[in-house]
């Protein structure tokens, strides 16, 4: 009798019972870890005057341990809730696809006293018109904006470009290859919007 020799056969091993999938993907956060993460996020928000993106927060926080997006969001919402409950003079807001601390509205007048009304100028009629057109019809070329408004918008558009509220995003593949414009994250920040989708729908016809 010959015994089949199979070179590929491995000596039989004890296969460990499979770890539950949930445990494998993300171990539940301990409350201390959660607290620590929350403090880290608070520190980041404190140090930044610009909105910090969700991904950036996650990237930093994951230095102390893996975290699921859903859990991170819960922590952020928790912070937001804390500030509200503690009646802080600032709020955690989601603006321009990021998170940022901003003062509450009721203290605006005092801040103005401190900085002496050095806030940037408000937009002119024409500028807000052009911005509205760009926001709702982006990407759009200048001739298209002109066509809607019926007047030349180059000066206004130039000002908006300088203020960084709109930016050139490409060229339209037509003769002359006119530049296409779209709104920027500075626009979202200026108007306190999270994304452009948060803009109210274009008013219906009157």
């Amino acid at each position: 009798m010959y015994k089949d020799i199979n070179l590929f056969e491995l000596p039989s091993r004890e296969i460990p019972p499979p770890t539950p999938l949930t445990q494998l993907l993300a171990p539940p956060l301990s409350s201390t870890l959660r607290f620590q993460m929350s403090r880290i996020i608070e520190a980041l928000l404190f140090a930044s005057s610009e909105p910090i993106s969700f991904d950036k927060l996650r990237q930093v926080v994951e230095h102390i341990g893996p975290i699921k997006p859903r859990e991170l969001r819960t922590i952020i919402l928790g912070l937001q809730h804390d500030y509200q409950v503690q009646q802080r003079a600032f709020r955690l807001e989601e603006v321009a696809e990021g998170f940022v601390l901003r003062s509450s509205g009721e203290y605006a007048s005092y801040i103005e006293l401190m900085i002496g009304l050095r806030r940037s100028e408000r937009l002119s009629h024409a500028a807000s018109e052009v911005l509205a057109i760009v926001a709702y019809r982006q990407p759009i070329t200048r001739p298209q904006i002109d066509a809607i408004r019926g007047v030349d918008s180059s000066g206004t558009l130039y000002n908006l470009l300088e203020r960084g509220l709109v930016a050139a995003v490409g060229k339209l593949e037509t003769p002359g290859r006119p530049t296409l414009y779209a709104i920027t994250s500075a626009f979202l920040k200026h108007f306190g919007l999270r994304t452009v989708e948060e803009l109210p729908a274009l008013p219906a016809t009157t």
Binding site: R91, S103, A126, V151, E162, F191
Partner: protein, 239 residues
């Protein structure tokens, strides 16, 4: 919208600020046919002459008035069919495109008002670091003197390592070769490629000649043909 400060107009059918008039016309609460064009223009010019509006509203005022006058003139003038430009829809109803355009513009005007309102609301919320930030807009180049720029440039130039290179004149130019080829084509009907590209030529010259041939073909001055029998490729006049 704040109408209180705007200059007012008094016409047969309407009394009030011009912005309101435009909106009424746009929303068809007033027909523009009934409005007196001359009255409107007269009053408009008077207001402008008296400079009743400040600089901020001035431009807006002129734009609004001009739009109104334009609308009125569109109504008065016979519909002009501009051949290909007019799409089938527009031919049926000359007012159609203007109307559609107006409705569109009206919507954006409202959206702009919403935006302005939002901007005002958002002013109450200050992000961290307010007050020590610079003015957010770029200054442009108006604040720069010519001397600033020249100083800047010379400082950069001084930093740059002086590298000297000999700029040589090109030995062969595509434009020269094009001229040459065209002259040769004038003399003889057809030049074979073996004649064109001789073995004594440098690699550069061969490339330049080839580019010249492509250029001539592009401009439809010459074409390349192949003799079926001998299989020889040659350059001829464009046919």
């Amino acid at each position: 919208m704040d109408y209180s400060s705007a200059p007012t107009f008094s016409l047969d059918q309407f009394e009030g600020p011009i912005e309101l008039l435009l909106r009424l016309v746009q929303s068809h609460e007033l027909t523009i046919d009934g409005l007196s064009l001359s009255d409107l223009t007269k009053q408009c010019l008077e207001k402008l002459a008296r400079n009743q509006c400040n600089l901020d509203n001035g431009a807006q005022f002129i734009a609004t008035t001009a739009t109104l006058l334009y609308l009125k003139s569109c109504h008065l003038l016979p519909a002009q069919k501009t051949g290909e430009e007019a799409s089938p829809q527009n031919v049926d109803d000359p007012n159609f495109s203007i109307l559609l355009h107006l409705i569109d513009y009206c919507r954006f005007k409202q959206a702009a008002q919403q935006l302005a309102k939002r901007e005002q609301q958002q002013e109450a919320f200050y992000p961290r670091g307010t007050g020590n930030e610079n003015i957010p807009s770029f200054l442009g180049i108006e604040h720069l003197e010519l001397s600033d720029l020249s100083n800047l440039f010379s400082s950069i130039i001084n930093k740059a390592s002086p590298s000297l290179e000999v700029v040589e004149e090109e030995l062969f130019k595509v434009s020269d070769k094009i001229l040459q080829l065209r002259q040769e084509l004038e003399c003889c009907e057809q030049i074979s490629f073996t004649e064109l590209f001789s073995e004594q030529m440098t690699r550069l010259e061969l490339i330049v000649i080839f580019l010249a041939i492509l250029e001539l073909m592009k401009c439809a001055h010459a074409s390349v043909v192949r003799d079926v029998a001998s299989g020889e490729v040659s350059l001829t006049h464009f046919r």
